[in-house]
């Protein structure tokens, strides 16, 4: 299986739970959905992916669209504070 380098950024509660705002990963995940499943396990993320949006290279993306080497992936939880 191909290994890709993926740049990941976290916001809000994900940043808190990951203990960091960003990281660079070597992963075999082929889609944002697979990537989130992998990261959720590693960082014990509370939110399910149904509660999140994912953006790839600054565009909102489908959870099942293929990831490419060096993609920048951002997981964004909704926030409501005011």
């Amino acid at each position: 299986m191909a290994t890709r380098t993926i740049h990941v950024q976290y916001y809000a509660v994900l940043r808190e739970q990951a203990g960091r705002g960003a990281e660079v990963l070597q992963t075999q995940a082929a889609t944002p959905a697979e990537l989130y499943a992998e990261l959720r396990q590693r960082h014990s993320f509370g939110l399910t992916r149904e509660q999140l949006k994912v953006a790839v290279n600054s565009e909102f993306s489908d959870w099942s669209s293929p990831l490419k080497d060096n993609d920048a992936v951002v997981f964004i939880p909704p926030v409501a504070g005011g």
Binding site: E59, V74, V79, G82
Partner: protein
């Protein structure tokens, strides 16, 4: 004749009155405003009216059209004088024809009140002592009792923004004519309201049903400690009127809900979401999409925030394009539980004010079709393209066809206990739904309980026994309440939430 017009010359209302004639009309009501010889204790010899006519006529016509929509009348018209007028001269005339007198009187009253409040007309009074002073008509109508006796009082001065090439006097008149509804007078609402009032936005509506709490002040510096316990909408309105007595500030001291949202929005041109919960955000979003009005949304979390502008006339996503249905209050953090640094909503609210001014003044660089994410710890910004979802491109959002009723909260959802031991004794199975780090830093002791973090519980709800009574516990009772509500939707009628959480024990 046009429903609203200005006259440079003295006019006789007879012609305008005749234009309202209709064989179906059972009555006609008129109001005439005359120039009087005094104002607030000063003798007035004559006065001059000046209007920004292009905009004022449009606003006047809008008011007459509103009256025709709101009241079952046959016809209505209004004529306003401009130029120099002497004592006793006719300054403004409103006429309404209708089937019955009640509607005629009501519509006539509505038109004159709204004209006084909203149409950009200035009045220069010449006093017997030789002084003169410009008076804003709306100010006469709304704040006559607040006037000082001296005509020399300080007037709002917009020169610093009028000096901007892209603003100018025309931009200032636009600001004056616009009506902005601000939902929430909290951390985001405070900078939004302050800057828009300062800028001279003609009509500001404040929707907030909360009273001030001491814990608000670190991020809401418009208020004072000795005002704790008082309604925020009214406190904010008083401050804004002091900041700019020339504008009209309307107080809606209530929560935005499915019953009031349509009518509230109807009286405004633009909505700014400064609320702190998803239910309100989605409700306002849906109402704006249906009414085809722009809306500016922001939210904050700890050190970061998100900003989004919805415009009906552009290919912009609305909130429902971005956020899935699963977005519910309590399932992600809020200021009370997650904490927030005071200036964070200050920055995001200021950005909302900037976007509002850019939109009203048609300035370049508006945030369109993008979600802006701002991390104020690293000062990183992220702009993510957010086009409207494909099924919605032809017009309004395909997912919004009406204002959906808000989820009813069952009355017995939250329960109060002095101690968890009592709850256990009463037969509740206690579940601590906090995440592992919270539990590690403040473990729950002395009572038998299970620890199942919120997300795991929501995913594995099949493992719960519908016959058993469960008491969900979190730090302050907000997540446990949302989780209990969610579980009840999954057919678990005996799940309860500890009111106030561990902090309330």
């Amino acid at each position: 004749m046009s429903a609203f017009r200005f006259s440079n010359e003295p006019f006789e209302p007879a012609g305008a009155r005749a234009s309202l004639a209709n064989p179906e009309a059972g009555g006609y009501a008129a109001f005439e405003g005359w120039v009087r010889n005094h104002n607030e204790g000063l003798a007035v010899t004559r006065l001059e009216y000046e209007a920004f006519e292009a905009l004022a006529v449009k606003e006047g016509e809008r008011i007459v059209a509103e009256a025709k929509r709101r009241f079952p009348i046959l016809d209505a018209a209004c004529v306003h004088r401009v130029g120099a007028l002497g004592i006793g001269e006719l300054a403004v005339w409103v006429g309404v024809s209708a089937h019955h007198r009640d509607e005629a009187f009501a519509a006539c009253r509505y038109i004159i009140d709204e004209v006084k409040h909203r149409v950009p007309i200035w009045k220069k009074e010449h006093y017997v002592n030789g002084d003169s002073g410009w008076v804003n008509c709306e100010r006469c109508a709304e704040h006559a009792h607040e006037h000082e006796s001296s005509p020399q009082r300080t007037q709002p001065d917009y020169s610093r923004q009028i000096a901007l090439k892209d603003v100018g006097p025309a931009g200032q008149a636009r600001l004056r004519a616009v009506r902005v509804l601000v939902v929430g007078a909290g951390g985001l609402g405070v900078p939004v309201l302050s800057y828009l009032a300062g800028a001279g936005v003609g009509t500001l509506g404040i929707v907030d049903g909360d009273v001030l709490e001491a814990s608000n002040l670190h991020r809401q510096p418009l208020y004072a400690l000795d005002e704790v316990g008082r309604p925020k909408a009214e406190l904010a309105a008083a401050r804004l009127r002091a900041l700019n007595p020339e504008i009209s500030v309307r107080v809606h001291a209530e929560r935005l809900d499915t019953r009031n949202v349509v009518q509230l929005l109807d009286a405004y041109d633009l909505a700014i979401d400064c609320s702190d919960n998803f239910a309100t955000k989605f409700l306002l979003n849906d109402a704006c999409v249906l009414a085809r009005k722009p809306a500016i949304f922001a939210s904050v979390y700890q050190y970061e925030g998100q900003l989004q502008v919805y415009r009906p006339d552009e290919d912009n996503a609305c909130l429902r394009c971005l956020w899935p249905e699963a977005t519910r209050d309590g399932l992600v953090g809020n200021c009370a539980e997650a904490g927030v640094l005071g200036p964070v909503p200050g920055v995001l609210g200021s950005l909302q004010a900037i976007e509002a001014l850019k939109l009203i003044l048609d300035l370049p660089g508006q945030l369109r079709g993008e979600l802006l994410i701002l991390d104020l710890l690293s000062l990183a910004t992220h702009r993510i393209r957010a086009p409207r979802a494909a099924p919605c491109r032809s017009g309004t959002c395909a997912r919004i066809t009406s204002i959906a009723p808000m989820t009813e909260t069952p009355a017995d959802l939250e329960v109060t206990f002095g101690s968890l031991a009592k709850a256990a004794h009463d037969g509740y199975a206690i579940i601590d739904i906090r995440d592992a780090r919270e539990v590690a830093s403040a473990p729950m002791t002395g009572v038998e309980h299970a620890h199942i973090p919120m997300s795991a519980l929501l995913e594995d709800h099949h493992a719960l026994d519908p016959e058993r009574r469960y008491l969900l516990v979190c730090a302050r009772g907000s997540r446990s309440r949302a989780t209990a509500l969610e579980l009840r939707h999954h057919g678990l009628p005996r799940v309860f939430s500890l009111r106030g959480g561990i902090a309330g024990l």
